[in-house]
Structures are given as C-alpha cells and as structure tokens.
C-alpha cells in the first residue's frame, strides 16, 4: 500500500530547510503511520542530499507527523537553480512511499 492511500501531506520551506507534514485521514491508520514513517525511512525514500538531516516531530492528537529536513533546497529559494526551488513537490513524492 502507498502512504498516499491513508495520508495527506504538504511541504513548506524556510531558507534551505524543507518542512513536510504527513497527516492520517483516519484515526485507525495513525499507529501504522507513526510506526512506519520514521526519519530513517523518509531519508531513504527521498535519497541524495535530502537524506542528510531529517528530524521528526509527532502530534498524536492530530494524527500528524512533521518532518524537518535541513540543507534540502540547494541554497534556498532565491539562490537555488532547481526547477522547484521551494521543494513544493516533495510532499507528494513522499506519499509514494510503500508501507
């Protein structure tokens, strides 16, 4: 099963840091997401420079996780040469993760 089937997500950015939320649609799926979507698995899924520094925060009352990935955006929005300089697409990429 893809994470996309049981969760939604949004990416934000500050400077060179990406912030990706992952939120369960249903309370009953929260334990699985909490257990499986670890910082290590997120780092492995995104790979490359994204994998360097992943911190995870949990908000169980909202069935939500918040991932903070430092150094993820090749210098930040004004300086980056990336097509998606904000990294806005990353949340959807993360939802491709298989559980």
């Amino acid at each position: 099963m893809k994470l996309h089937e049981i969760a939604h997500a949004r990416t934000g950015d500050k400077g060179d840091t990406s912030n990706i939320s992952v939120i369960a649609y249903r309370v009953e799926d929260w334990p699985l997401i909490d257990r499986e979507v670890t910082p290590e698995r997120v780092a492995r899924h995104l790979g490359g420079v994204m994998a360097s520094d992943v911190t995870r925060y949990a908000l169980p009352q909202l069935c939500a996780l918040n991932f903070v990935i430092r150094g993820a955006l090749t210098g930040g929005v004004t300086r980056s040469l990336a097509l998606d300089a904000h990294g806005k697409c990353l949340a959807s990429v993360l939802l491709e993760m298989r559980l």
Partner: protein, 445 residues
C-alpha cells in the same frame, strides 16, 4: 462575550483581490489583514528602492486599497498590512492619496524600524558563520522581523490603516487581538494562541481548500472561486476558523492540520518576535459546516532576539530550455545537455554552479523517488549561477543554437537571465531595534 472577527485579504504579494473585497463587503470584519511579504520579497523590494527612492512597496498596494477601502470604511473594518515592504512611508503616502481621492474619513499609519542595515555589520550569518560586513558592497538589505508593538501603538492611536514592512507574518494578526483584548505582553499562553490564529490565517486560501485538492482523494468544491478565511476570536484566544457562505473551498480538520504544520519546524517552539509559540497540544474540532474550533495553543517567553533577513547580490542566473518528443527523446535531450555543457567550457570559473535536467524525467523528484519508464516527451532545462551577466546570457544563447546545431527535433526554446538576490539570516537583540509609528492626520470626508 465579545468576539473579534479577523479576515485575510492576501497571503502573498500576487494573491487574488476579489476574495478580499468579498470579505470587506460581507464579512462583518473588525480587521482585514494583507500579508504580502515572502522571505525573498523584501530583498527584491529593497533592490527596487535602491533604483528609485519612491519605490520599494507592494506593486499591488494601490489596486488593493482602491478595491477594499470603500467597504472597509462603510463597515468599520480596519486594515493591517506589510505591503510597505522596503518603504512603508511611501506606501502610507500613496494610500493616503487613494483615501483622499475616494473621500473617505480614514487615518493611515506607517510603522518603521525593521530596516536594520546599519546595525547588522558584526552579526554572524547563520548560513556561513561570517559577519554580514564581509559581504561588503554586495550587501543590499537587512530587515528585522519585528513584533506587534508598533502595530498595536498605531491601532491604539486610532489608525484605520496600518502599513508596516518586515513584521513577522503572524504578528500582523496578533497585533489587532492584543489591541482589542488588551492582552498583556507577558501573557505567553494568549500570545501563543494569537500567533496560532495568525499562522492559520496568514496564507489566505491555504486553509480554505487552496493548495489542498487531490482529485479522487481530497475533493475541493468550486476551487476556482475559493474564498479567503476569517476567524471569530474569543478573549481567551480560542477561535473558530471559517469562510463566507457561497464561496468555494472548504474548512475542515484536514485543511487546518495542513496549515497548522506549514513551515513551522518544531511545533512546540515556533519562534516569533513576541513569544515562542507552542502548537504541540493544539486540538481541532469541526463544530459546523466549514467551521473548525481551534484550542490548545500556548506559548513561552520570547527569546529576546529578532531574526533578520539579509539580502545580498550573488551573481547572475542564466537559463535555457528546449523540448524533445517522440522516439528516443530522452537520449536526444541528454545529448543536447552534453553539447551545451561542452560549449560553455570557455566560461571556466565564471560559471559558479550548473545543473541540467529533463523536465518530466528527473527535474523535480529526488533521485531515489524517480520512476524508470521513458516519457513521450521531455524538456531539457539548463541553469547556471554565474559571476557576471554576460556569462549568464551565454546559457540561453547556447541552448538556442541547438535549433540548428544540436540533436534532431528540438523545439520551443525559451531563455532568461537575471541578477540573483540571495537571502541569509542572522539574529540581533530585540532591544537594539527602535520601532516608530508615523500617523497621518485624519482625512475628513
């Protein structure tokens, strides 16, 4: 119990104007807030001001004011905005001219003091660890994220329209609540809750169904006419987030949760000028159609330091794109990239950083997440950060020459170059920043 109604008129510089007019006319608002400054916008505004001392404020300021002021004046709705950007005084002057022309009895205030270019020389940049002064003449701006003090002072003095530059985004919303409810500036729990409300509202439609739709999974009704949000705030800092009847979009626990976590990093420590807000125990409850009750926000004492956004010139950026389609398009795209890369070799050290990618294949998703199947078309994109404008121009020139000298079947070239204004961060003591309020005399109708 009195409730303050506060709405969002804009969540970024280019946001739509019609939903703000709708809120001004039908929202029965006490306050309408326009948040128009992204991290990079202020540095670009400073660049505009350097070129023209009368410029540097939001280009849409006049259109926005003209559109909403008649309804705001009629309904007693006061405005707070950071559309002053790099030049709040000029923005207030321009607004005053609109007010006069429309014949409205409104007072306009400018809040200044966020420009700290003269104070940051010795401050160390977070990104490099070097003092700001090491950037020498490349340094063009330094703006502190100021808190609510100046805005509250202006509202207390009777301003109907308060225009500031780089205030923190949630402070634009927190200030009217502090003004109206008289919250103490060491009531950390209430300041945290007001910050929470500001954070939820600051991105306009991002909490009412904008940036949310995922067809088949997350449906959003009438997205094309998505409405902007408003909050009904109680004295204890709890609030209901909602939107106007008849507008598109939706307000649910899910839209509010996405916005709650947007860009905040550690939910227990969302560092703001007036408070370190704590969102870690927030509860969201759907209490009616498009109505979400927000409780559980809190806060801790402010850090005593202000974040400063430093803008500096950082070379030039050149880019060129060309499309390839059909049989073997990926290989032809890769060959085209190789040709351009070799052609640029004579620029040597004038190219500081270069990247090429095939849009539709490897441009956006990180390497680990990419699929293997070949697409039916790709667009080659080559971008480089260069030391000078001429080198940046060469990127597009070389891509354009692929028309006759590159692989088979390339089409649709586009090219561009522009100066890069980079943004870095530092911290300065809050006590070193002096915020000032300039109130113009009331213009009588």
């Amino acid at each position: 119990m009195s409730v303050v109604r506060i709405g969002t008129g804009a969540g970024f510089q280019g946001d739509r104007i019609a939903p703000a007019v709708d809120l001004a006319e039908r929202g029965e608002l006490d306050f309408l807030i326009f948040e128009c400054l992204a991290e990079r916008t202020i540095a670009l505004a400073q660049q505009a001001r350097l070129a023209d001392p009368a410029a540097g404020y939001d280009p849409l300021l006049e259109r926005r004011m003209r559109a909403v002021l008649p309804a705001c004046a009629r309904n007693g709705t006061r405005i707070v905005t950071n559309m002053g950007a790099a030049n709040p005084r000029a923005a207030a002057e321009r607004t005053r001219a609109v007010v006069r022309e429309l014949g409205l009895p409104l007072t306009v205030a400018a809040v200044t003091g966020d420009d700290v270019l003269g104070l940051v020389g010795d401050s160390l940049l977070t990104e490099t660890g070097a003092p700001a002064r090491a950037l020498e003449d490349r340094l063009i701006s330094a703006n502190a994220y100021i808190g609510v003090a100046g805005i509250v002072e202006a509202l207390d003095a009777g301003a109907d329209i308060v225009i500031c530059g780089r205030a923190s985004d949630p402070a634009l919303f927190l200030a009217p609540l502090v003004h109206r409810f008289g919250w103490a500036m060491d009531d950390w729990a209430r300041l945290g809750r007001g910050t929470l409300i500001g954070h939820l509202l600051e991105c306009s439609a991002q909490i009412t169904g904008g940036y949310f739709a995922d067809p088949g999974v997350k449906e959003v009704p009438d997205l094309a006419e998505v409405g902007f949000p408003l909050a009904e705030v109680s004295e204890d800092g709890t609030a209901v987030i909602t939107k106007l009847p008849g507008t598109g979009g939706l307000v649910t626990r899910a839209t509010c949760t996405e916005q709650l976590l947007y860009e905040i990093h550690d939910p227990a420590r969302y560092i703001q000028p007036d408070v370190v807000a704590d969102f870690s125990q927030v509860e969201l409850e759907e209490v009616g159609p498009d109505r979400v009750l927000v409780t559980g926000g809190s806060g801790h004492p402010a850090s005593g330091q202000l974040k400063v956004s430093v803008g500096y010139r950082d070379g030039w950026r050149g880019e060129g794109q060309i499309s390839y389609a059909g049989a073997n398009c990926v290989a032809r795209g890769r060959l085209a990239a190789e040709v351009v890369h070799r052609r640029l070799a004579d620029l040597g050290g004038r190219i500081l950083e270069e990247r090429s990618e095939l849009i539709g294949l490897d441009a956006v998703a990180p390497a680990a997440a990419r699929g293997a199947a070949d697409p039916s078309e790709v667009r080659l994109r080559i971008a480089a950060r260069c030391a000078d404008e001429e080198a940046a121009e060469r990127i597009g020139e070389e891509v354009e020459s692929l028309y006759l000298c590159g692989p088979a079947g390339g089409g649709g070239v586009s090219r561009s170059s522009r100066e890069i204004i980079a943004v870095a961060s530092t911290l300065i003591p809050a006590a070193s920043v002096s915020v000032r309020v300039e109130l113009t005399e009331r213009i009588e109708a």
